[in-house]
């Protein structure tokens, strides 16, 4: 951590409780417009916390599938736009938006609407290529070594912008599982011990912030979805720096009690599920 960064964080941690009166670890915003609620939540959380001056920030939405925004298989493009804009406001030098999708990248980037929305906010939308992969020691409990996209290693910080979705094996895919988009290789292997694997990944990448999109959530037939009947309008967004709290919050929206990976994450000290959330 740079000294300046440290001082800023220190100042923020001193000031935040004074302003809010209580120690909140997350902000949840509710409203009709996905862009507006994200903006509101980020403002309440503190836009300054998104980036330091001159940072290169990687915004990692879920662009996994060749689906339209209303099918809720990918992060809402308006949420992504709000995050990119806020990162620039906080002083970021450059914001990258990328993912390693399960469907053809060009189609997912365009049809999810994220490529256009992110570009509009000034982000650099990158397609990942085979040559960008580097073998890296993950040092997790299940994942010892894996191929990781170099962009994720080169940036100053990662902002994880997942969508809340049903997943037939993990139960749900939220912020921790979203990080599977930063690795390559035979990702299906992670399914052998999916809960441990995604906690390993979170520990490895350590995103600085989680902006969880629950404007629309996919309740069934995830993670691909496609059926509008499976989509529920929840109209909320959560901003937090706690992955365990974020995933617990998201899983609750899907009606899941306590998913295994939340438990593992808490045991390993990644965060706490019962974070205090400011609702606005």
């Amino acid at each position: 951590m740079k000294r300046r960064e440290f001082l800023k964080a220190l100042a923020a941690s001193l000031v935040f409780p004074l302003v809010s009166g209580e120690n909140y670890q997350g902000v949840e915003a509710y409203g009709d417009d996905p862009y507006e609620i994200t903006r509101r939540a980020l403002k309440a959380y503190g836009i300054k916390k998104l980036a330091c001056r001159g940072d290169v920030v990687l915004v990692k939405p879920n662009i996994g599938w060749d689906r339209r925004p209303e099918q809720a298989a990918d992060t809402n493009p308006e949420v992504v736009r709000a995050v990119v804009e806020a990162a620039y406001e906080a002083g970021a030098k450059k914001v990258l938006v990328l993912d390693n999708p399960c469907n053809p990248a060009k189609r997912t980037y365009y049809r999810s609407g994220i490529a256009r929305a992110a570009k509009r906010a000034g982000a650099e939308v990158l397609f990942l290529r085979e040559g960008d992969l580097v073998k890296k020691k993950i040092g997790g409990e299940f994942l010892k070594e894996w191929e990781v996209y170099r962009q994720a290693l080169e940036v100053d910080r990662i902002i994880d912008v997942p969508i809340v979705k049903h997943h037939s094996l993990a139960g749900a895919t939220i912020s921790m599982k979203n990080l599977m988009g930063l690795i390559g290789g035979r990702r299906g292997y992670l399914h052998r011990q999916i809960h441990t694997a995604i906690v390993d990944l979170t520990q490895f990448f350590r995103p600085t912030l989680y902006v969880v999109d629950a404007y629309r959530v996919l309740k069934a037939h995830g993670p691909v979805g496609g059926n509008l009947a499976d989509v529920a309008l929840k109209k909320r967004v959560l901003v937090t720096s706690d992955p365990v709290g974020a995933d617990y919050w998201g899983a609750k929206l899907l009606g899941l009690a306590e998913p295994p990976w939340v438990k593992i994450g808490q045991e390993r000290g990644l965060g706490r599920k019962d974070i205090k959330i400011l609702r606005i």
């Binding site: 060009k106 290529r129 037939h221 496609g226 499976d230």
Partner: protein
Amino acid sequence: MKYRLLRWLRRASQIFFLGLFVYLFLKTGFFGTDRVSPWLSLFFRTDLYAISLSALASRTLQVLSLFFLAMLALTLIFGRFFCGWVCPLGTLNALFSYVFRVKKRRYKKPPLKYKYLLLLVIFVGGLYGLGFGGILDPLSILFKAMALAVHPSGNYILEKMSKFLPFLGNYTLVEPHGFYGALTWGSLLLAILLLNLVEERFWCKYICPYGALLSLFSKGNTLKLKIDWDRCTRCGICDAVCPASATPFTGWKPGECYQCFRCHSVCPEDAIYTSPSLSLQQKPAPVNLKRREVLLAAAASLLTLPLVRAERKVLRPPGAVKDFTSRCIRCGECMKGCPTSVLQPMGILWGFENYGTPRLATELSYCEYDCLLCQYLCPTGAIGKFTPKTKKMGVARVDRSICLPFAYGKECIVCEEHCPVPSKAIKLIDVDTITPDGKRFKIKAPVVKDDLCIGCGICENKCPQSPKAIRVYPWEE
């Protein structure tokens, strides 16, 4: 002077159409919209040879491809202008001959007739529903060679170069795919180009069946080449320079002439001129086709019928019609356009009738659920209209003896996760499993619902097992 200008105009036209061909080629694919213009396959929609063969073989015709009649009309008026002014492969042949300074070596008796016999074999086969003539269509050869060989290898070179010149990385393909038959089709194009070393535009003169067909319609075209015999010094240079063996001096063959205006501009006495006239008085010099040869070729075509017929069931592109091999002209538009490159040309082992037609190569890739491109690109309607909901290419089958949860008791469900059917064609059931160590427990395992499965093959593609524990097979109702 006038003819020198016309010759330059012809060269400009050749470059323009070659450029247009390459431009449309590069534009064929997904660029952010689900619907693409059917005019991306402009060259094939106006392809008199391929479209009429497809129409003959399948007895059907696409409305948008009726423009091949325009080509017919233009040929009746202007002769084989297509070969000299438009055809991109012809332009490449001419360029190659020019660049390598091909010596003007000539056959004493140019074997002009074989292309007509070849055309006859192809069209008599067409009468019986055989569409394999498409593999000899010059446009289709060029397009497939570009799509399957030149484009992927060019991208590969660019990728390697971008190691040293990073900015080149922006121009490489995001998801490069290889193609079966890349070597075959690339070599075919190379062979055609190398034939120019034997004689200038060897392919166009002696083999090209499209040229042969055009020549049938240009016997009586209105652009009559004439020689002013008062001026002519009988030097015969026009015969020597003619790239088409149309022999202006010893007897002009209008069916062979490309209307290229080379002889006009080369003639030292300016004795050659073209006068538009409708009269048929000038008797065209014949190509010596014997009746016996014609009958033999027609009979040979019928005899090959049982040899080339392939009855094997194969996975076809979405929306493929029943008489697919008859309608398909092997142009390769769908293969170039396919964003996942699941459409691959079939090799010779699939039967000659299927040779060069697209199949769904689920062992390499998969058909993207929401993608609709190939139906707009197909110039003959061999790939009929479809929506994501009406796609039905095949059906997936699970091999429980190698499937991870079934056979090894390991968590997987990757196939179910990727299944794009909104209500999931792959269902998960809890089964009792037994690991190789003898542990027994319940685990989630996949089963396929036949009626929901569209056979896109993403499950096969993403299955972590090797050999694949779920595969797509042709669907039979």
